[in-house]
């Protein structure tokens, strides 16, 4: 129950679950629609077997697919560093259960995340932003972080900007992950059904008219079915098994020329209810029903056009969220949120050496909700203490508006044929905080030779408080945005078409971080924290003519924080060494195998050196040692995936086995304590888990 409360409610219950919606919301490149016959992009990442030439007479995933849009012509860079994975790699990285947003952990600069959202260059998860089809969604992962809310077969590519990203993006001090959804196929009606232990999904796509096509996908979890039929009755005190579902779809209209209109929609819901007949063994305040539901629905319209040399991009979205949650009789919340936003961007080549880009970026959310429960801890750096029923806070029905408009200007300057300069500046206003920020940034790439490109960047990044951090009674209405200075430099070496390397060092300095006051006493949060991160990223990619694809990523870093006047400590998820090796190989006859190995320094943990007892509420408080003064043992895991594809008439049938944690490494992650904190046991990570699936395509 303790882990549930931490995971699901994050102490401030729904606030935590909805926090993602307060993150930078609106962005994403929607590249102009290239002709359908454009060649696929080059430089496949590891695990991207589709880029290799399949042996004859074998089913070839790409042979009859005509994905219409996007990313097939590399757009000019808008930042020094961009790392990407394409569609096939995203769904075949072993150990991810085919989830595209988890696959990015094979890239340099991406830490190991056990809680879903990515850790980029030592930044906290809430400091980075993830966009799906140009929009940040209220929550990215279904219950338990097993699956992201997007159907993997609809993702065209995922780009990762670990730092120093373009002024196109804002409201984040960490990095950006941008997943781009693909356009529907136009070469006839196609469908796909996939069944696995986790969930079942269906996808259908095809043309409606000569210039109009559609795609739609839906997915539902199988966990409740597995629960009811295969789990012994006395194993869990669960009355309703967790259920999730999601859907995505799009209508794409291409009237001709460079015009393109895309109407897309996405939605998701998670619901679960647990019932505990008796109070929790560690904290009697936790009892009764624990659960709730969270859902969102969003519609988005994107329009691209070109007027002479001027390229125009317009996007707008509107959506709704609903959340309700309760943890026993003493913690309850609900929220109804209407989201809206949009972007307008214009790109004009002034001359061959200069292109100007200007844009408007608006994000908004209208909240209505109420909350009763524990106070909110810092989003990062809080120590786990028991919820105390005497410390509950209540926010009666309240409404507030998040309205964050921004404007930016960027230039693409080519002083010489080999030097690219990207100066930019971004202005943000945060209505909730009545504050504005100015973010100047500069990136450069210099092609020293055809094989070697040097790159560097420096920039100022700002991020608004999480919305609850500024609500009176829970947070501090006077809280202000905080900032980060990013500095990076490195090089990219292209040894051959098959082999390339990427090296980059980075340094970040965080100022005015938002931290809790002692005991979270009013005003609860203050801009009195700092941070510093330094690191080095190494990446190597190799693609052999045999189809073997390999990708090695290593990140060395140290990320530290300082809260108020306390000493420097390690960031909660500081990972000194992050090593990932991913391999993919077509075995022939429709077989494809993949492997991934990861070695990651254990996360910092704060030791418990004693405890004392609250006689009024019957809970124990831990006495902590040095904040993040110890570490978990190193994480190591080998994942394997094998897939066999059969060609059946016009269709294909694929069976796959994705085995997570092949040798069942325990991968201790923190400790579980006895009720009085006098005894403890290591808590193990994700177990050996074979996910068997079947996918039929037509």
């Amino acid at each position: 129950v303790r882990s549930l409360v931490r995971t699901t409610l994050g102490s401030i219950a729904a606030f935590g679950a909805l926090a993602a919606s307060a993150q930078p919301s609106w962005a994403e490149e929607v590249a102009p629609p290239p002709p359908a016959a454009d060649p696929p992009s080059a430089a496949p990442p590891a695990g991207a077997p589709e880029e290799s030439a399949p042996p004859e007479n074998e089913p070839d995933d790409d042979e009859d697919e005509v994905y219409e849009a996007v990313a097939e012509v590399a757009a000019p860079p808008r930042q020094a560093t961009q790392r990407s994975l394409d569609a096939r790699a995203l769904t075949t990285v072993p150990g991810t259960a085919g989830d595209p947003l988890k696959a990015i952990e094979v890239l340099p600069g991406v830490g190991r995340s056990s809680e879903g959202d990515p850790i980029l260059r030592g930044a906290a998860q809430h400091e980075s932003a993830v966009f799906i089809d140009g929009t940040s969604v209220p929550f990215l992962y279904h219950f338990g972080n097993l699956r992201s809310v997007v159907h993997p077969r609809l993702v065209e590519s995922v780009d990762v900007y670990p730092g120093n990203f373009s002024v196109r993006y804002g409201r984040a001090t960490g990095g950006i992950v941008a997943a781009r959804m693909r356009d529907p196929r136009r070469d006839g009606l196609h469908g796909e059904i996939e069944l696995s232990l986790l969930d079942s999904s269906a996808l259908i796509e095809g043309p409606v008219a000569s210039n109009l096509s559609f795609e739609a996908a839906a997915r539902r979890s199988n966990i409740d079915f597995v629960f009811e039929n295969f789990v012994p009755d006395d194993t869990f005190d669960v009355v309703v098994a967790p259920v999730y579902w999601d859907y995505q779809g799009a209508l794409v209209y291409t009237p001709g020329g460079d015009s393109r209109l895309r109407l897309s929609f996405i939605g998701s819901k998670d619901a679960t209810t647990l019932s505990f007949g008796d109070p929790n063994a560690e904290n009697p305040a936790l009892r009764g029903e624990v659960g709730g539901s969270i859902e969102f629905h969003r519609v988005q319209l994107a329009y691209l056009d070109r007027y002479g040399d001027l390229r125009q991009e317009l996007q707008a979205y509107v959506g709704q969220q609903h959340l309700e949650q309760n943890v026993g009789p003493n913690s309850q919340t609900y929220f109804d949120v209407t989201d809206f936003g949009g972007r307008a961007e214009w790109e004009l080549p002034v001359c061959p050496e200069l292109t100007l880009i200007a844009g408007l970026d608006v994000q908004g959310s209208a909240f209505e909700g109420a909350y009763r429960g524990s106070a909110a801890p810092s989003a990062e750096g809080s120590l786990g203490t028991p919820d105390n029923v005497e410390d509950q806070i209540t926010v009666d029905r309240t409404t507030f508006l998040l309205f964050n408009p921004a404007a930016y200007v960027e230039a693409r300057v080519l002083p010489t044929s080999r030097l690219l300069l990207l100066p930019g500046i971004r202005f943000d206003y945060y209505h909730q905080n009545d504050a504005g920020t100015v973010n100047p940034r500069l990136s450069q790439r210099y092609e020293l030779s055809d094989a070697l490109t040097l790159k560097s960047a420096v920039g100022w990044f700002s991020q608004p408080p999480l919305y609850y951090e500024a609500i009176a009674g829970v947070g501090n209405p006077l809280i202000q945005p905080y900032h980060a200075l990013h500095v990076s430099a490195g090089g990219e070496v292209r040894v051959s078409d098959a082999l390339s390397f990427d090296v980059e060092g980075f340094y970040k300095r965080l100022t005015s971080r938002i931290v809790s006051t002692p005991g979270s006493a009013p005003p609860h949060f203050v801009n009195d924290g700092q941070g510093r991160v330094i690191g080095l990223e190494l990446g190597a990619k190799y693609t052999a003519s045999s189809g073997l694809a390999a990708q090695v990523a290593y990140t060395l870093s140290r990320s530290e924080r300082q809260d108020r006047d306390e000493g420097w400590r390690l960031f909660d998820q500081d990972q000194t060494h992050v090593l990932s090796i991913a391999l993919g190989y077509p075995l022939g006859a429709g077989w494809h195998a993949g492997a991934r190995f990861r070695y990651v320094t254990g996360n910092p943990v704060t030791p418990v050196i004693g405890s004392f007892y609250d006689a009024a509420t019957d809970v124990y408080y831990p006495i902590f040692g040095a904040h993040n003064g110890e570490r978990d043992p190193a994480f190591q895991e080998l994942d394997l995936r094998i897939e066999k594809t059969f060609a059946i008439g016009r269709g294909r049938l694929s069976a796959y086995l994705d085995v997570q944690n092949v040798y069942a490494a325990e991968n201790a992650q923190g400790f579980t304590y006895s009720y009085d904190y006098r005894e403890r046991e290591a808590t193990t990570g994700a177990p050996f888990f074979p996910n068997l699936g079947l996918r039929g395509e037509l």
């Binding site: 063994a281 410390d391 209540t394 005991g519 006689a615 019957d618």
Partner: protein, 348 residues
């Protein structure tokens, strides 16, 4: 090792029910293994989707008194002992209940201070200690201490009463850290946080008009003319009700007068309760209680609960061993009361 995603409350598996010949230690190990196997399998299948489901916790049983342990504190206004929240400047009494697996006296340090504002994490002193004492008490009996609150405390302000024991030596209280220290080892320490009432003061619940049943028969409170019995003291041929390690028993509680006070929650109206919930702690000096906590919530219509007691792992001497069960009730607002029941645990 437990899995991160799953823990559950203890329930005997069928495998265990058929293992009656196993020793208690073996049973513990079997049960732990069975639980781990169940959880591991299910976790492997369902992984994080079952984040909230609970697998068995083989760590220390909170229902068993295995060493010196503070289990409760009750504050009563000197002018009206039923009042649990004395006003600023008022005289009051605090009764501490400290249990142990052994009989005897203990020495302790107590301290009072005003609390720093806090709504998260452990409370801390926010001002100087206004009263500090060395005291002596007996395990299993109330340690009663009188005090007077400072008159300057504002309504809603919190004050803290601290109690600390050391295995050896005298504990010292550090108000800056709000912690006790022992010269050797970790102290057994606790605090009671009281609030200066802003309206009608909270009142202590009372167990006096409630009923405890042992296997269906009324289980009377001991008269305690000689204090709490020594844990495990021989008891065959005493007047105590007898229990056998061979047979599971049932302890039932029935609420007499409804102590759930009506609430006017000044903190807000959302999800507010119209009256208190009562949370019960039940602990004993012998293992066998199925759980340590029960509750009669604000919306409960059934004003009773049962706690199975299965002392199958106990091995009392032929003269029997005195079993003491302590029941404490809390109203989640600082109101507390407790009571003790004794029985004689006999070998098969």
């Amino acid at each position: 090792m437990k899995h991160a995603f799953s823990r559950r409350s203890p329930k005997p598996s069928s495998r265990l029910r058929h293992a009656e010949e196993a020793s208690r230690a073996e049973r513990h190990e079997l049960e732990a293994r069975a639980a781990r196997a169940r959880c591991g399998w299910a976790s492997g299948l369902l992984a994080a989707a079952l984040a909230a489901a609970a697998c068995e916790d083989p760590l220390t049983d909170p229902a068993l008194i295995a060493g010196p342990r503070i289990v409760g504190a009750r504050v009563s206004d000197a002018a009206d002992p039923a009042v649990a929240a004395p006003s600023a400047g008022a005289s009051a009494r605090i009764d501490w209940l400290v249990l142990s697996d052994r009989a005897g006296e203990f020495s302790a340090s107590v301290a009072w201070c005003s609390a720093a504002p806090s709504v998260l994490g452990a409370p801390r002193c926010g001002g100087p200690v206004f009263l500090e004492q060395r005291v002596a008490g007996r395990f299993g009996e109330s340690l009663s201490l009188d005090f007077t609150l400072p008159g300057a405390l504002a309504p809603g302000a919190a004050w803290l009463s601290w109690l600390g024991l050391c295995d050896t030596g005298e504990p010292s209280f550090d108000p800056d850290e709000s912690l006790f220290h022992c010269s050797d080892g970790q102290p057994t320490s606790g605090f009671y946080r009281g609030f200066i009432p802003e309206g009608s003061p909270n009142r202590n619940p009372s167990l006096a008009d409630d009923t405890l049943l042992l296997d269906g028969a009324v289980w009377a409170e001991p008269t305690d003319t000689e204090g709490a019995p020594d844990p495990g003291a021989p008891c065959r041929a005493s007047v105590l009700p007898e229990l056998s390690t061979r047979q599971a028993s049932s302890i039932a509680f029935e609420l007499g007068g409804d102590d759930r006070e009506a609430l006017e929650d000044a903190r807000g109206t959302y999800a507010a309760h119209d009256r208190e919930s009562l949370v019960y702690t039940h602990v004993s000096n012998r293992s066998g209680l199925e759980r340590a906590f029960s509750a009669i919530d604000f919306d409960a219509d059934e004003l009773r609960f049962e706690v199975p007691f299965a002392p199958e792992g106990e091995d009392p001497p032929s003269d029997g061993a005195t079993l003491s069960v302590y029941l404490l009730v809390r109203d989640e607002r600082g109101g507390v009361d407790w009571s003790r029941r004794d029985a004689c645990l006999l070998p098969p």
